[in-house]
């Protein structure tokens, strides 16, 4: 449970916020360590992983697809408008694809997963905490990390790259449609430009970002859920906290990976 801030001094409020943030990051990192250790030890409940793949991945396809479609429309329209002015309409496909594979695909999938899945994980685990279900697991000598976190983490790691690639593909379809209707660029020209622009390294970075996003969404949400105490009100607080932290961290780490891989030397 987040400690109530009763002091009115803004500096003390900031200090409390900072301390709680550092504590959450510490909890998340140690939870990640224990989760990876259990995976390496082979303590994996595969049927539960499959169930979580359905919850985390399959059920996210509609919302990720819809978001990617409209992001692709808007982005392609802006790019097409500018490139047509410079007579570079044949490069629309390449520029759209670069934006999608490097930034928009992973970000869209990550943010949608944070909103749909991160919040659900935090709410579910917080509810389990406050209704003694986690204590029940301890009493039955079932490790909550093995039982609850490992399947969600593996499902996130499997499904996030799939969702990112799917978001990218939907964005490209939107790009083809806009390039054709707004700039009269045929699909073949669009795809030719894509092939000439995209490098293998772009896919590597795309997958790295996907794995990092999956780790952020699942680990922060689980850490928040498993460290919350209190009552019904705290479920709402934990859910909000999970969304804020996961989304913020997705953008922070996205920039870090981009700056490490694409910054001019």
């Amino acid at each position: 449970m987040q400690e109530p801030v009763t002091k009115t001094n803004p500096l003390l409020t900031l200090e409390a916020w900072f301390t709680s943030g550092i504590r959450l990051i510490g909890t998340t990192v140690s939870l990640l360590f224990f989760t990876v250790r259990l995976i390496v030890m082979g303590r994996i409940d595969w049927p539960e992983v499959m169930r979580q793949c359905n919850m985390i991945g399959i059920k996210s396809f509609a919302v990720v697809g819809l978001t990617a479609l409209f992001t692709g429309f808007a982005m392609s329209l802006q790019i097409a408008r500018e490139l047509v002015l410079f007579g570079a309409d044949t490069a629309i496909g390449g520029v759209v694809a670069l934006a999608l594979i490097r930034e928009i695909g992973p970000i869209t999938a990550g943010v949608m997963l944070a909103g749909r899945v991160g919040s659900a994980i935090a709410a579910e685990l917080t509810s389990m905490m406050i209704t003694d279900q986690i204590d029940a697991l301890h009493v039955m000598r079932v490790d909550p990390v093995e039982f609850l976190v490992v399947p969600r983490y593996l499902a996130g790691m499997f499904m996030m790259p799939v969702l990112s690639i799917y978001a990218m593909a939907i964005g490209l379809i939107a790009g083809i449609q806009i390039a054709n209707s707004a700039a009269n660029v045929p699909m073949a020209t669009f795809l030719d430009s894509v092939k000439q622009t995209i490098l293998d390294r772009d896919f590597t970075v795309h997958f790295i970002k996907s794995f990092i996003n999956a780790t952020i969404v699942v680990m922060f949400s689980c850490a928040i859920g498993l460290s919350t105490r209190g009552g019904a009100e705290d479920v709402g607080i934990a859910t909000t906290r999970a969304i804020v932290w996961t989304m913020t961290m997705i953008f922070v780490f996205n920039y870090i990976v981009t700056s490490l891989t694409y910054a001019p030397r």
Binding site: T131, Q133, A136, L137, H138, V139, M140, R141, V142, F147
Partner: protein, 243 residues
């Protein structure tokens, strides 16, 4: 070694000078008791006096500040006040989870689950989810989950609170049946008069983190101790504050 100390050594549960604080508030101020096989100890007292904290300490869900907690076995069955069934699992899966650590063959596991559910009269709900059951049924499943691996220690946290009188009697009957069948050492935390009277062999009364009375259930009604008199006869006048 004295005869009494020797007897205490053979107890299934032994608690010695147990202390626990939450923040500045000392909830337990040096509690000591033993529970022997086949015995049910009733822990009674007003809300917030530390009854449930003792159960959490016995299950190692929270650490003690000082004192000794000894349990003969790590196999402990705990019946939670609010059932605490895992909502995403069926009744069968909830019970199977309790047997997970035993790594039993599937057919043995299934037989144990079916037998235990029959014991609490819920065999027909084996594939239902907790949300499809009534409060009383959930409590009975929680009860089945706590005993499915036949633990040597069974702890009940307010097992009949919130239930109607008929369902309370049913749960109390199961507790008595189990005591005969398993010969486990049990602790029941409750403030329901009928529950401690029917199920406990001995009771201790907690107040303000200390044991203020102990004895047999029948003695509680005739005792001169002002604490137990106030508790049993539910009067406002007495040493226990009603703030």
């Amino acid at each position: 070694m004295s005869k009494q100390a020797d007897k205490a050594e053979k107890a299934t549960i032994r608690v010695q000078d147990l202390k626990k604080s939450f923040g500045n508030r000392q909830v337990l101020k040096g509690i000591s008791f033993e529970v022997w096989p086949g015995e049910t100890l009733g822990i009674i007292g007003p809300s917030g006096c530390g009854k449930s904290t003792i159960l959490k300490l016995l299950c190692r869900l929270i650490p003690a500040d000082s004192g000794e907690v000894f349990t003969e076995s790590d196999d402990i069955g705990l019946v939670f006040q609010a059932a605490a069934l895992l909502n995403s699992l069926t009744v069968r899966q909830n019970l199977a989870l309790a047997l997970r650590a035993k790594r039993l063959p599937k057919d043995v596991e299934d037989a144990k689950i079916e037998d235990t559910l029959s014991l609490v009269g819920l065999a027909q709900f084996i594939d239902s989810y907790p949300s499809q059951l009534s409060g009383g049924q959930q409590k009975r499943v929680s009860f089945a989950r706590a005993v499915v691996y036949q633990p040597k220690i069974i702890l009940y946290d307010e097992p009949t609170t919130g239930l109607d009188p008929v369902m309370s009697t049913v749960i109390e009957d199961y507790m008595i049946q189990l005591e005969d069948k398993l010969r486990a050492a049990s602790i029941v935390v409750t403030h329901q008069h009928s529950t401690w009277k029917r199920t406990a062999s001995r009771i201790i009364l907690l107040h303000d983190g200390e044991i203020v009375w102990h004895g047999k259930p029948d003695e509680a009604e005739t005792s001169d101790n002002p604490f137990i008199r106030q508790f049993v006869y539910a009067t406002r006048d007495g040493p226990m504050a009603t703030v």
